[in-house]
Structure formats: structure tokens, C-alpha cells
């Protein structure tokens, strides 16, 4: 496989010779491990942790390969490479996850060494997508484009990627460890539900530092992260994170799988005690060895330099005219297009939530189409969002109409970004061996109920998030309406929560009542939405109305008066 390089202006990290050599050696090592497994030289117990360290799970129907997309950023040649893998070794489609990664669900073990080699040739791999290590770092899909951005979080996400990749001390943590970073006060990376959440900001002198949240997480015991420091200077970032990880590695529980995440250490072990331990370790190791060298930061910043934007007026007559003349385009633009920091440009969300489709799924042909359009309209890069959509970050407003026509022709023009049918679902029992219930079909039914565009627009900002088990890959705790699939004697039931919110002032949703069978769960969602529309005051979002009237009326609507 010939090595391919990203387009010149794509906002992705450029691998150097050392990176490439590491990946090639890793592929060779993995190839040997698979050969030994297939020959019987390794037992499954011996092989399982090795395959998991390379992102290979055994799921309901076959092996599943989870490929890392660092901070959700893809160069177009990488997206085309993923399309090729999907075509050649899977069934022609992939699934984007809430951790900005891509999963292939029909992989054969014996093919995986070749797949890893194909990935290495496009600077990709599946390391840190499984196991009790620091996982793929996630961030804001509008990084480098959002008008409200203070610091470009991709620079620090990449620094954290390099720091954490096969970090010898943190390869066998008590449990997995997830870091998210945002560079805007309007958090689009859900940092408070990660093991560590970083809010990059600037002080009055213009210096960069980070507010650090620790102990967020969903799953069986959901918690919002607590702020352990309001300011960690740029140079101390690695030392401070190293201190957090060391404290977790030392004191995190290894005796109980369900109490092993850092959230338990922080929330049940005592916040102040945790902070004291971190500060003590930080004070001990702070110094030249862990200081983040400004030269390194600058070198990495160059990978994310703004592309050569044209000097354009902020207002596009062509865009405005197209909206006036084409109502369908106007609806799409209203929901999919958002402001950009460069005059005359916009960021575009490509919805992977067609009504009645499979949330986050994309065919290989669609991947190729998006790559072609990104080359043509967005400097050769594509972003994956934690809400399972794609983003073209830098599109000229003058080009939006042509872009929309091409997307629509490829089945990628669903105008529902940010609306109620733009819901999150995990793969659920249709694919996942951990799931108790299906997620996708419930999502599809909900989408069909709310398919009417005018109704969706009228409902406005209302996020539905759904998981097929308590592990919460679908972030159900964070849905304004959350849905959790449960198993009752082999049959699927669904528990509904209300009031979740992934933003910086976020909240974990509260359970409304007893779990419902599938049809009733979909009816219940519609009843909840109808009640909101009936009771809302002008300008209120669903969460505002819920906060004002409380859970009672919703509970009564679903379950009758107590």
C-alpha cells in the first residue's frame, strides 16, 4: 500500500517518519499476533487483550473494528480509505459513534492485519479505541471555524494524543479514560461527562490555560465532572494531567468493575481529598521534564493553521437569492449552516439521520461523495461530530447551494440538523453484544412521528438520546428526552428520562417512571413533546419549560395521577 498524504490545507496533524515507523511496526506486531492466534499458539484469553488494544471487538454478528479518528478530524484521503475498507472488507457501510470514531461491524479476524496496513498507509489506526487506556480525545466539531472560539482545541487534542499514545504508565488503568476538550465557552464537546474535561481559555494577558473538570461520566453511575482547577497554564497541562492520571492509577478501584472509573474516586472518595492528592503530585513532578515546550505547541499549531480563506464580503447575495428561490434549500440552510469566523464562509453539518434511516451510518459511496465535496468546497477535510453527523467546516457561502444539491443527490441532504429527529442512538441490540434492547428501531419510529418539517421546526431545540444498555454509549442521560433500553425477561422495554443536557451547565436526566414496551415508549415521547408544546411560553426551549413546570405534569401525562 502506497503512503498517501493529506491535502495541503486540510486541518489534520501530519505524521512524520517516526509516527509512520511506529504504526508500521505496530501493524507488523499485530500481524504476528493474529497469525499466532489462528495457528493456536495464542489462546483466546491471551489474544483478547491484544486485539482489544487494536480496536477489535467480537460483537453480536461478527468482529467489529473501531477505528480512531483523533478529535474527529479526517483528511479526505482518509475518508476515501475508510470507504475502500468498507467496500473490500466489510459490507459497504460504516457507523460513526458518539466518540467521533468509525465502526465496521462485519469484519473477519483473518482480514484485520491487511486492514491495519491499509489504515497505516493513510495515517490511521485503531489504537486507544478499546482497553483501559486513555481513549481517543474528542473535541468541538467546529474547531478553527466557530466565531465564539477562544483557543483552537485541536492543537491540544493532538498534544494529548501524542502524550497518551501507548503511554507505558497509563496502558493498564483501572478502567478506560476519556478526555474531551473545548476552546469555546459554548461547550460542544460535552466536556463535563468525560473523565477529564478541558476548557481552553485565555487570561487577561492573552496566555492560554485550561479549566479542568474531572470525574464526569455516564454509564451505570452518571456524574457531571467537577472543576478541580480553574486555571492550569499551557506549559503545565501535561504535568497536571499526568498528576491526575497517577492519582487515579494509584487510588482508583480495581476490585470492582462498576466502581473503577475515576468518577467514583472523585465523587465517592471525596472531591477535596482527590484535589489534594493531585496538587501534591503536581507539585512534585512539575518541572522541565513535563513542561510543555512552546516550540512543540507552535510546531503542532502549524498543522492547524487557518486555510487560505479568500477575502470575501460577509454577505453572500448568491446564498441569499438561492434561499429565496428554493424553499427546500432554505430549510436545509436554516438548520445545517452556521456562522463562520471568516467573512463569507460558513460551516455545514451533514446530517447522518435520514428519517427512518440508521443513525450515524454512512455507505462507502457516500464517504467518497463527502470526500469529493470536501476537496471541492472545504479545503480537503471533514469532521465527525459526537452527535454522529459530519461537518464541512469551511465552505464559501457562495458555494452552499451547489454543495446542498450534491449532498441531496447522495442522500445526505436531510434538513434536520439540531432538530428532534437529529437524535443519537447507539448500535444497540441490533449489533452490540452488551446491549439489552434495540435503539435504532425506536429512533426510527420517533423520527417517523416527527418527520413533518414544520412540526420539527416548531418544536425547536429538543435533543433525544438513546442507549440500548446502561453503558450509555448513546448518552441517554444527557438527552432532553433520554431513552434507555432494558431487558425484562428477554423482551425489550424502555425507560424515559427528562432534563438531560450536555452543555457546560449540564444536567443528568431524571427518570419519569416505569419502563415501557416499544410502542408505548414512542407514544410516550410524542405525549411529552405535545405537553411541552401545550405548556411552553414564548421563547422557551423544552428544557426551559421542564425547569419551570417540573416533572409532575409529564409524569401525570404518561402514567396518570398518582
Amino acid at each position: 500500500m502506497t503512503y498517501l498524504a493529506p491535502k495541503r490545507h486540510a486541518g489534520v496533524y501530519r505524521y512524520d517518519e517516526i509516527d509512520r515507523q511506529f504504526l508500521n511496526e505496530r501493524v507488523a506486531e499485530y500481524r504476528g499476533q493474529v497469525a499466532r492466534r489462528l495457528s493456536g499458539a495464542l489462546t483466546e484469553d491471551e489474544f483478547k487483550p491484544l486485539r482489544l488494544m487494536n480496536g477489535l471487538y467480537l460483537q453480536l454478528h461478527a468482529y467489529m473494528l473501531r477505528i480512531a479518528i483523533p478529535y474527529g478530524a479526517l483528511a479526505t484521503h482518509q475518508l476515501r480509505g475508510l470507504a475502500r475498507i468498507g467496500r473490500r472488507w466489510d459490507k459497504g457501510y460504516g457507523h460513526f459513534t458518539t466518540r467521533q470514531n468509525l465502526q465496521f461491524h462485519w469484519i473477519r479476524l483473518e482480514d484485520t492485519p491487511e486492514i491495519m496496513a491499509e489504515l497505516a498507509a493513510i495515517d490511521m489506526h485503531a489504537i486507544q479505541t478499546s482497553g483501559n487506556c486513555i481513549r481517543n480525545v474528542t473535541t468541538d466539531q467546529f474547531a478553527g471555524a466557530a466565531p465564539d472560539e477562544v483557543v483552537d482545541p485541536r492543537v491540544y487534542a493532538e498534544i494529548l494524543r501524542q502524550w497518551s499514545t501507548i503511554h507505558p504508565e497509563f496502558t493498564y488503568l483501572p478502567r478506560k479514560f476519556k478526555i474531551a476538550i473545548t476552546g469555546s465557552a459554548n461547550d460542544r464537546a460535552a466536556i463535563r461527562v468525560h473523565d477529564v474535561g478541558l476548557l481552553a481559555k485565555r487570561n487577561e494577558a492573552g496566555e492560554i490555560g485550561f479549566a479542568v473538570y474531572v470525574g464526569g461520566g455516564l454509564g451505570r453511575t452518571p456524574y457531571l465532572g467537577v472543576k478541580v482547577s480553574d486555571w492550569v497554564g499551557e506549559q503545565d497541562l501535561i504535568a497536571y494531567l499526568e498528576a491526575i492520571l497517577r492519582v487515579y492509577n494509584q487510588f482508583g478501584r480495581r476490585d470492582n468493575l462498576y466502581k473503577a472509573r475515576i468518577k467514583i474516586l472523585v465523587h465517592q472518595g471525596g472531591k477535596q481529598k482527590f484535589i489534594d492528592n493531585v496538587e501534591a503530585e503536581f507539585a512534585r513532578i512539575r518541572g522541565p521534564k513535563y513542561r510543555l515546550d512552546p516550540a512543540i505547541v507552535e510546531a503542532i499549531e502549524r498543522n492547524f493553521a487557518p486555510p487560505p480563506f479568500e477575502e470575501l464580503p460577509p454577505y453572500s447575495e448568491a446564498f441569499d437569492r438561492a434561499k429565496r428561490e428554493d424553499a427546500a434549500f432554505a430549510v436545509w440552510a436554516r438548520n445545517s449552516v452556521r456562522d463562520h469566523r471568516a467573512p463569507g464562509y460558513a460551516s455545514v453539518t451533514i446530517s447522518l439521520k435520514p428519517i427512518g434511516g440508521v443513525t450515524g451510518d454512512i455507505t462507502s459511496d457516500q464517504m467518497d461523495t463527502v470526500a469529493d465535496l470536501a476537496d471541492r468546497y472545504s479545503f480537503g477535510e471533514v469532521r465527525v461530530t459526537h452527535e454522529q453527523n459530519l461537518v464541512l467546516a469551511h465552505v464559501r457561502q457562495d458555494d452552499l447551494f451547489d454543495l446542498w444539491k450534491a449532498l441531496d443527490a447522495a442522500g445526505l441532504g436531510t434538513p434536520n440538523a439540531g432538530l428532534i429527529t437529529d437524535l443519537i442512538t447507539c448500535p444497540g441490540l441490533d449489533y452490540c453484544s452488551l446491549a439489552n434492547a434495540r435503539s435504532i428501531p425506536i429512533g426510527q419510529e420517533i423520527q417517523k412521528r416527527f418527520a413533518d418539517q414544520q412540526r420539527q421546526q416548531d418544536i425547536g431545540d429538543l435533543k433525544i438520546k438513546m442507549s440500548g444498555c446502561i453503558n450509555a454509549c448513546g448518552h441517554h442521560h444527557l438527552g432532553a428526552i433520554g431513552i434507555l433500553g432494558v431487558d425484562k425477561k428477554g423482551e425489550e422495554f424502555y425507560q424515559i428520562t427528562l432534563g438531560g443536557n450536555a452543555e457546560l451547565d449540564g444536567a443528568i436526566g431524571d427518570i419519569v417512571g416505569a419502563a415501557l414496551p416499544p410502542d408505548e415508549a414512542v407514544d410516550a415521547v410524542e405525549s411529552i413533546v405535545d405537553l411541552y408544546l401545550e405548556r411552553r411560553q414564548p421563547g422557551e426551549r423544552f428544557l426551559d419549560t421542564l425547569a419551570r413546570i417540573g416533572m409532575g405534569p409529564f409524569k401525570e401525562k404518561l402514567y396518570g395521577a398518582a
Binding site: S39, L58, L60, A62, D430
Partner: protein, 102 residues
């Protein structure tokens, strides 16, 4: 009477397989053997030998009922494993004709 079938994933490709009446692994649940409780324990032990021989991984027994001579999984999880994703009937076992899989 409660009956059980034995299932696993094939090592090389991960495909879902079931223990057949001849002690071989078959690719369709319709072709699987159904065992009573005592026989299931014996069959499970035999199947574990196949795992030890690196033919399959993840062996376990699950509940079935036999309808018109064909085992049918009682739980949703096993029904989906036997068919494929409920939301994509073009993939999985359901996409292959039974006579081709036999």
C-alpha cells in the same frame, strides 16, 4: 420442556454458528440441534473442546423452543443473532437463503 441450543462465533471470521446434530458447527439456527437440560451440559462440554481447538470462541447455551421441528430462540438477543440486524434485512443470516447456507 425447556430446550437449549449451543452457539459460538467462528474464530477466523467471527460468523455466528450453532452446534448441529452431528456435532459440527452450522451457520443457521434452523439447522442447530436442540438439547434437553442434561444433554445440553454434555453438548456444551463438547463445544468447549472446539473452542480449545481454536475453531470457535465464546461458546454458550441459550433457550429455544422447537416449532415444526425447527429450533427458535426465545430471547430477542438470540433472535437477532440468528437473523441479523432488524433494521437492515439486506445483511446478516437473513440475507442468505437457507439452502445456500446449509
Amino acid at each position: 420442556m425447556e430446550l437449549k441450543a449451543i452457539t459460538a462465533n467462528r474464530l477466523r471470521d467471527g460468523a455466528v454458528v450453532w452446534l448441529g446434530p452431528q456435532g459440527d458447527w452450522v451457520e443457521r439456527v434452523e439447522l442447530a440441534a436442540a438439547f434437553d437440560d442434561a444433554a445440553a451440559k454434555v453438548a456444551l462440554a463438547e463445544a468447549e473442546k472446539s473452542a480449545a481447538a481454536n475453531v470457535v470462541v465464546g461458546v454458550y447455551a441459550f433457550e429455544v423452543e422447537v416449532v415444526d421441528g425447527v429450533p427458535k430462540p426465545l430471547r430477542q438477543r438470540e433472535r437477532i443473532r440468528a437473523q441479523g440486524p432488524s433494521i437492515r434485512t439486506d445483511v446478516g443470516k437473513q440475507a442468505d437463503a437457507l439452502d445456500r447456507a446449509a
